[in-house]
Amino acid sequence: MLDNPIASIRNLRVEFQTKDGPVLAVDDVSFDIRPSETVCIVGESGSGKSVSSLSLMRLVEFGGGEISGGRLIFDRKTGGETDLAITDQKLMRTIRGNEIGMIFQEPMTALNPVFTVGRQLTEGLRIHMGMNRAQAKARALELLKQVRIPEPERRLQQYPHELSGGMRQRVVIAMAMACEPRLLIADEPTTALDVTIQAEILALMDRLKRETGTAVMFITHDMAVVAQMADRVVVMFRGKKVEEGTVDEIFNSPKHDYTKALLAAVPRLGEMQGKSLPEPMKLLGDTEHSRKPIPGTEEVLLEVKNLVTRFPVKGGFFRRTVANVHAVEDVSFSINKGQTLSLVGESGCGKSTAGRSILRLVEPLSGQIRLGDTDIVALDQQGLRKARLDMQMVFQDPFASLNPQMQLMDQVAEPMRNYGTVKGDALRKRVEMLFDRVELPRSFMRRYPHELSGGQRQRVAIARALALNPKLIISDEAVSALDVSVQAQVLNLMMELQAELGISYLFISHDMAVVERVSHNVGVMYLGRIVELGPRAAVFEDPQHPYTQALMKAVPVADPSKRKAEKDLNFKPIPSPIHPVDYEPAPSEYTEVTPGHFLLTSDSGY
């Protein structure tokens, strides 16, 4: 490693002018990035990670921010150092995209939806490298090959929405690297992706760093990813840098309280080895809550048999159904009272659809769903409404699932108003009780969703789900979007409620470490079917299906000593779940490997 840093951030201060006066987003932050080095910036949501990186690009100005102090020394390609904090925008334009490349947080929105991938890729090349159309196209193709997108020629003609999330993120990466920048800023490139795609992308970036000597500034709040990627780590907290050090230092001997708390909150795959029952996480300094295992009961609450849900693909002249999306295909499982069944699997494999089918938020095509004594499938709209008293759902995105225009109190009270279970003063009391229950201060009752952090919002969603005293809660990726620390709190809350109230969960997630922590039983889904189902310990410690095995391998481990090599990864592209109307898939058949541990024997497509 060379000692002369590419970028050196000195006492950076960034302010935003808001209605309530200036907000200090980044305060006195200094660190260096050296060539061929990956510096990870970690910290909770809102701690100033993105703002720091945007300052380096001088893009904060466009968001209303202002660099009010500090220096951003950048080592130009041509030699000579420039203070980016005071360069004019004209010169910045020659640096942006050329010497510094940036990968943005949201792959879904970072691409312009109306231009083809090729056009967006070549744009920067033509400006900075002075290439003509043909040259730029050739280079773009080369880039796409580098990021290992299948069929790169065809992708150039496609629009962003025609690509899957993983592919889109790879296009963004290719774009950032187009002009072979000396510094690559990656702002949470994998947060929104599921493990398999995440693993691919991490491997890719690692390889590029090694091959081209680019310095990488990697922003994330996922400690497992840090362990996987970083050379050095900078920990940020409330706009300040609180700690800096090599990966090993940070993971093995954290100094600052915040770093310690952060590390403690990370669920690690394998932590639960040997235990058969889920138990709450131990959070640093929390002595008050119990961490007893949760046994549940043996009484069956929900029984799903041969559930099939398909979405018609309409087309042709008279809008007839020409094909079907086989989203859920012959799925059977059961959940006991007070226990948790997790569904894991790749994006698009039908987890959410399965969950929604049970509530009949989407209509299943066939199959049986029994909740206690009621046959959900047979119910009419009235009965269904009544049945939902017993089963509730928490959605993936806490922001999207709350009405932005309603006060929290009303949102939590809404189910009770709908069913008229409690009224008047009792209603208010119950809402207050629910707020206490999910540990939100009562003063929040009059707030709006946007005034809360993600974790708090998710608690509101949980409070709303609890309002009717349901027996079953379907939690669809309820914690995926949250910070680790917040995630830990929410998970503990859920488990605590389970222990106290005997609630059952259908827990949908793609985060294997979390699943390991909370489940009694696990079902692995692939292309609409459950390929493996069994007690959590059995599935995690002895995966039988090749897909389960691949999935396990992809999970990053929050331990710098257990990095994965790219060659370990072996993913096949997912086949299409769309089949013609007359296609009749074979029924799912299982063998019982060990008692309660089932393995799909019919063809799953993997």
Partner: protein
């Protein structure tokens, strides 16, 4: 997309037939009489004979059927005859206006040039002014330019053309004598000088009409730009080192235009429908004036035909707007 278009086109036929029936019923029910403009000196029994000669003695459904046949069967034949010189339509009765006793379609065709020149041009001009104003107001939101733009467009929108028209006539024709106050529909553009004359006579009606268009489209453009300027992809574009001009005029504009273009498309039928008041004020005598005089004269075949053609355009441009939406926004699929 193609099947979507064809499906909508086929669906449009029953819709339009229904609309034509409703229009017919409405006109039937409306009070008024084609003899209203005949002077009172003409005695009532003569008027009654004139009404009978117009076919008003026949029951309603027969007249409707006749109109349907004339419009959908005979007029297309006339059109084909005109195109390729056949004589399919010889001796068949076309849709005849009660006022002029001549085929309605001929008059409509005659009115097209001035309508398109003036109303069409004003729409083009209005849109062309509105777009930059909208873009710049959004880019510099709450700047002086933005505030002034809002002010002027809103005042422009709230003052009706029956006032602005005479006002600019008084200023530019009477006081300054720059432009003629009366539009000459027979004027032929053959050379530079006549083109200049044409420009002079167009400029005032175009200005008055464009004001309204500018106000509306400008507001839309601004709102749409504001929606897009904060999107993530804009930051991506900047991060690539693109210049502001490219970022705003290519990346943002292309996205902002999607809703605006459909709004613009939806406004097009109004061009062919003419601008009733402005045409009246400047004596442009386009389709709008034709329609309003026909309405005053209770010239039912004329009103029915023009309104129906207008309905066809509305349905058609609705479809165009939807299709455009699909073309401009690759995310939308109509299948």
């Amino acid at each position: 997309m193609l099947t979507f278009t064809i499906r909508r086109l086929i669906l449009a036929v029953p819709t339009l037939l229904f609309i034509s029936l409703i229009i017919f019923l409405l006109l039937e029910l409306a009070p008024g009489d084609p003899m209203a403009q005949v002077p009172l000196t003409v005695p009532p029994d003569v008027k009654e004979k004139m009404r009978l000669a117009l076919g008003l003695g026949e029951p309603f459904h027969i007249r409707f059927w006749k109109w349907i046949v004339q419009f959908f069967w005979i007029e297309p034949q006339v059109f084909i005859d005109h195109l390729i010189g056949t004589s399919l339509s010889d001796g068949k009765l076309r849709v005849i206006s009660w006022q002029t006793r001549s085929p309605v379609m001929d008059i409509v065709v005659q009115r097209m040039p001035q309508t398109l020149w003036v109303v069409g041009m004003s729409y083009v001009v209005g849109v062309l002014i509105a777009l930059p104003i909208g873009i710049y107001s959004a880019y510099r939101q709450y700047s002086v330019f933005d505030q002034a733009g809002t002010f002027i467009t809103m005042v422009g929108y709230s003052i009706p053309p029956f006032f602005t028209g005479p006002l600019i006539i008084v200023i530019f024709s009477v006081q300054l004598g720059w432009f003629p106050s009366i539009y000459d529909t027979t004027h032929q553009v053959v050379d530079w000088a006549t083109f200049k004359v044409q420009l002079q006579q167009m400029i005032m009606p175009v200005m008055v009409l464009a004001l309204q268009t500018t106000a509306q489209i400008g507001r839309f453009m601004r709102a749409s730009m504001l929606d897009n300027l904060n999107q993530d992809y804009v930051r991506t574009a900047r991060a690539k080192g693109l210049s502001e001009a490219v970022v705003v005029m290519v990346h943002v504009l292309r996205n902002s235009m999607i809703p605006v273009v459909t709004v613009i498309a939806l406004g097009v039928p109004a061009i062919f429908g003419g601008a009733i008041i402005t045409e009246q004020v400047f004596k442009v005598n386009g389709i709008g004036q034709l329609l309003i005089t026909a309405i005053y004269a209770n010239d039912l075949p004329m009103v029915q035909t023009i309104t129906f053609m207008f309905a066809v355009l509305i349905v058609f441009f609705n479809l165009i707007a939807d299709v455009l939406y699909g073309i401009l926004d690759p995310r939308i699929r109509y299948d």
